[in-house]
Symmetry: D2
Subunit: 336 residues, 4 copies
Amino acid sequence: MAFIDASERNIGFTFGGGRDPIAQISPGEPVRVRTQDCFAGRVRSVQDLPSQVCEFPFLNPVTGPLYVQGAQPGDTLAVHLIDLDPVGEVGFSATFPHFGALTGTDATAMLHPALEEVVWEYPLDPVARTVRFTARKAAGGAPPYTVDLPMRPMLGTIGVAPAGGETRMSIVPGAHGGNLDTPLIRAGTTVYLPVNVDGALLALGDGHALQGDGELCGVAVEVPMDVTLVVEVVTGISTPWPRLETDQRYGSIGVARPLEDAYRGSHRRLVDDLCAMTGLDPLDALQLVSQVGMARIGNVVDAEYTVVALINRALFDGEQAYQGAHDRLRAVARVS
Amino acid sequence: MAFIDASERNIGFTFGGGRDPIAQISPGEPVRVRTQDCFAGRVRSVQDLPSQVCEFPFLNPVTGPLYVQGAQPGDTLAVHLIDLDPVGEVGFSATFPHFGALTGTDATAMLHPALEEVVWEYPLDPVARTVRFTARKAAGGAPPYTVDLPMRPMLGTIGVAPAGGETRMSIVPGAHGGNLDTPLIRAGTTVYLPVNVDGALLALGDGHALQGDGELCGVAVEVPMDVTLVVEVVTGISTPWPRLETDQRYGSIGVARPLEDAYRGSHRRLVDDLCAMTGLDPLDALQLVSQVGMARIGNVVDAEYTVVALINRALFDGEQAYQGAHDRLRAVARVS
Amino acid sequence: MAFIDASERNIGFTFGGGRDPIAQISPGEPVRVRTQDCFAGRVRSVQDLPSQVCEFPFLNPVTGPLYVQGAQPGDTLAVHLIDLDPVGEVGFSATFPHFGALTGTDATAMLHPALEEVVWEYPLDPVARTVRFTARKAAGGAPPYTVDLPMRPMLGTIGVAPAGGETRMSIVPGAHGGNLDTPLIRAGTTVYLPVNVDGALLALGDGHALQGDGELCGVAVEVPMDVTLVVEVVTGISTPWPRLETDQRYGSIGVARPLEDAYRGSHRRLVDDLCAMTGLDPLDALQLVSQVGMARIGNVVDAEYTVVALINRALFDGEQAYQGAHDRLRAVARVS
Amino acid sequence: MAFIDASERNIGFTFGGGRDPIAQISPGEPVRVRTQDCFAGRVRSVQDLPSQVCEFPFLNPVTGPLYVQGAQPGDTLAVHLIDLDPVGEVGFSATFPHFGALTGTDATAMLHPALEEVVWEYPLDPVARTVRFTARKAAGGAPPYTVDLPMRPMLGTIGVAPAGGETRMSIVPGAHGGNLDTPLIRAGTTVYLPVNVDGALLALGDGHALQGDGELCGVAVEVPMDVTLVVEVVTGISTPWPRLETDQRYGSIGVARPLEDAYRGSHRRLVDDLCAMTGLDPLDALQLVSQVGMARIGNVVDAEYTVVALINRALFDGEQAYQGAHDRLRAVARVS
């Protein structure tokens, strides 16, 4: 299996923007891609404050762009995540000045000074599949609060060159994917992205060993990650906004502010898809999703917020989304 | 066990407002309360359009108010839901003009005419624990799309007399509870509500046999419900905004617009509670919730939206919320 | 002219709620109503911190309710403000903990501690029609920054008993009026409010000697006020959401969160009114308002935000809103 | 005076993105720039529906980029608008499918079909300084509603290459300026923009003969425009978000969703500027802006909404923003 490392020449900080592809990948052929963590590896201990060791806009590096053979504008790129392996023995999280859902930010401007910037180091236990949280601030002379949490690797950032000739920073989510920060983008999931330029120009990064719904403080348990993936180009179907699929579920990703608009967009497009797959009238599909739709908040901290709307694939009444791309890629994954 | 029926004299359409209590209930003594459906029983077939058969403000009837013995302002009322049994053989759902997340509303005003008003009838199968959806609009001559969905009974509306001398319509959610419309308020859950007046004046209604996250079209599978519940008065702890607890999880309910503010409020208060229970510093608690917090969208359709923020109770490090009220009430439930 | 004082027996802290009317007023007969300031007079120097001297929910007193003779549910109450005279020699403003647009609040919850609570005293000069701002915190040994600002008296709170049997605290704005906090409610303006109960039950308070757009910190230059007003009952026209009118302009008040929904609601209803007055098609009216509509932000700090959408009355093509109520009341004002 | 035409080689559809400058301009030397209308001239009669004659992403052409001599990253670009002259005899407006504040959009997704697409032609009278609105849909046999409206030329779109290596479509507003759509950007105004790359790469377009607050339907009275402007490079002051200044007022432009965040951002930065100019403590500046701040809604329809927060320059206590750039450019304008 081809391996693409995360050396300086292989990473960037934008989606789109004229960087030459670092590699070509072929539909149906699994590839292993290493990603740096969102700090570009500069946080190495709890003394390394991100606002001091990192430098705008060199945040949230993505490995890529990867040129996908055969991908043409108007197609859909299906990216199946076979495996996500955190690299190394620790992850880091932090509060970052004026970033997060419970602090004034550049977008939701307040007059408060920034919350204190603190870094947490999470030792990873790959056998027990846990990460260990230890409080930074002990209360009195008591031993610090510590707890082992389940490891749930996910990919924070995955996307392609945007439409309309745009170039977006890799920390921004949008219709092109990008920094979606939803825990549902994990091993076993297929992400569907628009193809806006020849070769799609896929890039990915921002691995999380664990992240809660909404990424409350703005930073997950950030780790370098080895991502094994396989792609397919679905022709004849365009995907202006991202979707995802697992063995059980099918979902639509909303990206917007305020958060209700992310909810609205994800659900509107899920209703559309349900109609397209089953022939249901839009009002019938609206009704059905009203009763069985699942909504998962991705992030409430980035430039745009994300919500994933999901239904069980069984509701498709035997039909397959994207001409069965997920199941085909899943089969590839099983033998890889 | 005492039974309180849903006859006209036992229902109202507000929380607070000077209606006399219909009954007194005693902490620790289970009681069975019947609730009408949100249409006050006026929708009896798919021909009964809610906008024609229902009349503002006589929507969303709640059974009550129930005077809770011993409840004093500043206390917390713990309401444990032992059992939720849909009454009857069918539930109804509908689109309602200018109501729901994917239509212009009085609050999110648009220039579009209303979506078509349609009623769906859901036969209930209490043995299989399913409700049956059948599409109203057949495509061509094909047999209509139909599917059995899991029955997941929940209570849409539960609350007490509001603070500040306010009276709120029962269709409005708020700090007093009310029309929270979250699927997490189901059998096995304890809801914690503020006590703002002597006796708390508990009322409940709006049973749903099934509801998706966000209640997309604004109407769930609406049913009359028999609700078996038991209460406890927790003294010495006030609860300005609602919380809930199950055997596994502890949660905080945010009620606000826009939806990110419901997310913010629920999570801010969950962080506060985690600090109070464990002695963690707020930044440590923020960090921990960032990685393991679960956010569940309740409704994105009512006068205020709702989000529930949850963590596993194990993070409380052996401490018990509300002096262990949930576990005590759960024990009562097991023997009732 | 009848005078209604602001003694304790004449004030309340809610709209609706069963308080007996303190007086009856007759359409066409001007009356003078004194209002307390929003602190209920408890802030008397910069040493009086509102969070210490005021007590929830005894904030934002309104004088009333006034029973309007002849007002029946379904009518519209037109309230013309003839004169607004600040009472006394000083006004006060303040920052209040967790209140305002640039601080975390109970609704937009953040993890920051509250901004410092500070009180400003504004001497009023009724001859020069100015109020004097003096900085509380001098920079170095320099004389403090001070500036005379124009006095622009306005009424922050005016409303009636809400629909649906609700009772709302006087600090909350809504369809019933209430704490709208828009500078456009000043002498010369007619406010149109719904009549939901017999006699409408008008109440008013929260005079501001001056307030900026949005009431940024949440508190204006707060003063007791003598309000001279005259009312008319408009039968045959209902007003579910408030409107206002001046000699030049006609406006619709939106009350909602997020702020774009206040914009949407105010404009949607202005488009409706323009259609009703002129016979324009909704799309033509939408187009016309798009080019000449004026939007004025009222508050971005209260329980709901407010936006006023306005057009010049000349666009009504000779027709008069509310059967000419404003012009009639204006004529009464001129001779009173 | 140099003239830059709006021929195909001189226009683009992005800010940033590697297009070569079409011209160099020198600080202090007025230049006249022609701009196409937002339809790229393709709407020539009311029969030309924008969704049919225009093609994404070739919307909202901007003339440029103009390389500003001496502008270096970290500087501020002051652009003073000397004169705005609509070109031609008519302007056009339209409803556009799923665009505007009172319709479901791609961002605020609804299930409604699009509102009808209609075009309005506005004859311009350069002598009377009016534009004529005529209703498209006559009611019955009556002569159509028609009215002359004041011409108030403004520039919808002005900006520079974005930070972080981004390229944004010209229809998007942001920290780089872009499609701000605020009526305050008119003759006599100086706009302050960040310089993110050598030469700043200024571009402008989207002239409006008239636009209401919020641009309700999403489209103003769109015209080609001759824009006479003069620039200055202010060194030593960076401007991460746009500001503007007139002879009387100083303002800060907020660009965000939801609309309250545009209000917050614009006001937070205005408070900062007031502190920087006067030495006021932030709380004193907050208080002062609370009483005299003016907020003007720009657009509530674009990818991000805009609000301008303004105060009178007199509050600067004799100090001059941006080292007096506005007054210097104004002096140039007077003699040009």
